[in-house]
């Protein structure tokens, strides 16, 4: 397949996404969207989808195509955010250029990690463990490095009249389009990789590394390139996140939960496929956000610690506790759902949603063909 074929469905979705901000506050959207999800709130959900689609796509290069399971991508994400932010706050470098610096730095970290791990032949679970340890080391260093704000993180300076070069905007629309463009670029890059020699090498490594090595695939170099590229993209995502939230702190960014959220989209949508991570993000984020809005709305204002310490009789304590749970408990329901989704996909459709759909279509198509055969070809010899 030398020519790029684009499913018309994706083009329709893209057209809709391009036009969405124009109508985000219109009455039609208000009528269609539940929970009053219109205007900036709606755009925010889409920014999250694009952002996670982008991050998952970055992970997909090393985790999906090369088949090297990284559970530490939060480290690259965090380093990227810190690099561009420090460049901006300390040296006044525009975050647009900071993003490139971030990509260079995280790419170098990725290459270094890959160089060390793959030089010593770490594979499968051992590589995964090294990425976890790398992320933990990154978090600890950031937490104790006063120059980058240690545990307090960095609050980006707020400018009342933000200019384009400050990568700061009052409205959601610019962020929306930036995130969309980043996601589209990542799709384009991965689509190109998938059809390049490099992509076929990665595919071979994923299938059987020893066999690939035997037929002359430079496995070590390819894996290092894959993780460097993946890390560079994740670093750029970090810059976007820092500019979007205007606040970065190690304990929110470089934690295992974030590493898992980054890989979740790709694994659920289909790791090693071009559109898998994007489809995964379009499934995960709406499900997660809806859960947050519906179940974690008010809360009862009950503090669990206070409830435990109170003198209420046991039965009454228990009833208050049930109220507490019904009102969303201590939160985390969206993440519970993510965990269930991840396990369900791993057990039920191990390749992810897209390959599963493709398999379904194939099977359905085949049985339809057979029906057609039976209908027309009654005169089988």
């Amino acid at each position: 397949m030398s020519r790029l074929r684009v499913n018309p469905f994706y083009l329709v979705v893209l057209a809709l996404l391009l036009g969405l901000p124009l109508v985000a506050e219109s009455e039609t959207v208000e009528a269609v969207m539940p929970l009053g999800l219109t205007g900036p709130a709606l755009l925010h959900v889409f920014v999250l989808i694009f952002f996670f689609g982008f991050m998952s796509q970055a992970w997909n290069i090393v985790g999906g195509f090369a088949g090297q399971l990284s559970i530490g991508h939060a480290a690259f994400f965090g380093i990227g955010a810190y690099v561009s932010t420090v460049c901006y706050v300390q040296f006044g470098l525009s975050p647009w250029f900071g993003m490139l610096v971030a990509a260079a730095v995280t790419g170098a970290f990725g290459a270094g990690l890959g160089l060390v791990s793959f030089h010593y032949g770490l594979r499968g679970p051992f590589f995964a463990l090294v990425t976890v340890a790398f992320a933990e080391i990154t978090r600890l260093v950031l937490l104790h490095w006063d120059y980058v704000g240690a545990a307090n993180g960095i609050l980006l300076p707020f400018s009342p009249e933000p200019t384009f070069w400050q990568f700061q905007f009052r409205d959601k629309e610019p962020y929306y389009y930036i995130a969309l463009v980043m996601m589209l670029c990542s799709i384009g890059l991965v689509a190109w990789i998938a059809r390049s020699r490099f992509g076929y090498y990665l595919h071979a490594i994923r299938q059987d590394e020893d066999a690939a090595e035997a037929v002359g695939v430079p496995t070590k170099r390819c894996k290092i390139q894959a993780i460097a590229l993946s890390a560079a993209l994740a670093g750029m995502g970090g810059t976007f996140y820092a500019q979007y939230t205007q606040y970065i702190v190690p304990d929110d960014m470089v934690v295992g939960r974030v590493s898992v959220e980054i890989l979740l989209g790709a694994v659920i949508g289909g790791a090693g496929t071009v559109m898998g991570p994007i489809v995964g993000a379009f499934i995960l984020i709406p499900v997660g956000e809806a859960t947050r809005v519906i179940f974690e709305g008010g809360g009862t204002g009950v503090s669990l610690s206070a409830l435990i310490a109170s003198d209420l009789p046991f039965g009454e304590k228990f009833l208050t506790y049930l109220d507490y749970l019904a009102a969303g408990g201590g939160g985390g329901l969206a993440i519970i759902l993510y965990g269930v989704l991840l396990m369900a996909v791993v057990l039920g459709m191990p390749g992810g949603v897209l390959p599963w759909l493709a398999g379904l279509r194939k099977r359905f198509g085949r049985s339809a063909d057979r029906r057609a055969d039976r209908g027309t070809g009654g005169s089988r010899p």
Binding site: Y120, L129, V130, H144, V260, S303, S305, G332, G339, L342
Partner: protein, 290 residues
């Protein structure tokens, strides 16, 4: 000056003993089923919550809970193996890692939902009591945690060496097809191994409840430490895991002294981990290639 290091050495050995029980559970599961359990620390966290709530709500002493927890968490592990883990036995490592990662995510979030993200700690009358070891003062609860954990490690080792079930488990770890051929029920062995592993890690958690806070996020640290130990000691090697655990405990507590900040103590452990993975993936004592 040397007093400080002696103190660090002893408290490192004490916590290392508890780590040993955590790691022995992990290595047993890995040895028998060839599965890496990324949700290991979350079971420890649930063990700690069990001890915490039993104490504050029902007035049950944590050491009593430890006794009750053995059958309870064994059953929990058995059930989790029978439902979630069984389908991925023998599948690729990526699938297994993703499944147990999903389980770990689920358990963390579930704990946050049920118990809130607040840090909780027990206030026991005897928590401040200390005893004298080699001229330094050590908390009584830490010594108890060490003694219970080491006792259980020994008991597990004897179980594996002396009983028929234990021997069957070891046979599974050596050779899957071979043990099937001599009539060992592999599926049952998997459930027993997972149940035992989970019971070990939960009890390790419970013994730490008197001196350590609990929160939904504490699990991953213990999972990673257990991996460090298991890799140090050689995968599937129980005496190796105990030795590795004591080393990690000491590295951690001495690390707290030499690092610029005590909370950087884990850094020393992770660096040690990466070094061992790179240069001695078969473990410090093993000869089997990994």
């Amino acid at each position: 000056m040397s007093d400080v290091y002696l103190q660090a050495l002893i408290s490192g050995l004490m916590i290392g003993g508890v780590y040993a029980l955590v790691a022995v559970g992990l290595t047993l599961i890995f040895g028998v089923m060839d599965i890496i359990n990324f949700a290991h620390g979350e079971f420890l966290m649930f063990g700690m919550y069990a001890a915490y709530f039993a104490s504050v709500l029902l007035g049950v002493d944590p050491y009593m809970t430890a006794v009750l927890a053995l059958p309870l968490f064994f059953a929990l592990g058995w059930a989790v193996q029978a439902t979630l883990i069984r389908p991925v036995v023998g599948k690729s490592h990526a699938i297994q890692i993703l499944l147990t990662l999903g389980l770990s995510l689920l358990m963390q979030a579930l704990a946050q939902y049920l118990f809130s993200a607040d840090f909780q700690s027990l206030k026991l009358d005897y928590a401040a009591a200390t005893m004298q070891i080699a001229g330094t003062r050590v908390g009584w609860t830490r010594v108890a945690a060490f003694a219970i954990s080491m006792g259980l490690c020994l008991a597990l080792w004897l179980f594996l060496q002396r009983t028929d079930t234990g021997k069957a488990l070891r046979a599974c770890a050596e050779e899957h097809e071979g043990s099937l051929a001599v009539g060992i029920d592999l599926r049952r062995m998997y459930k027993i191994a997972f149940g035992l592993g989970i019971a070990c890690v939960a009890i390790a958690g419970i013994t730490m409840t008197p001196f350590l806070y609990v929160a939904p996020v504490i699990g991953p640290k213990f999972t990673l430490v257990a991996f460090v130990i298991v890799v140090l000691g050689g995968l599937g090697n129980i005496p190796g895991a105990v030795a590795g655990a004591l080393i990690v405990g000491v590295v951690e507590s001495v690390g707290a002294l030499v690092m610029p900040s005590p909370s950087l103590k884990d850094l020393a452990v992770y660096v040690l981990f990466i070094l061992v993975l790179l240069f001695r993936p078969q473990g410090l004592f093993g000869s089997r290639g990994a």
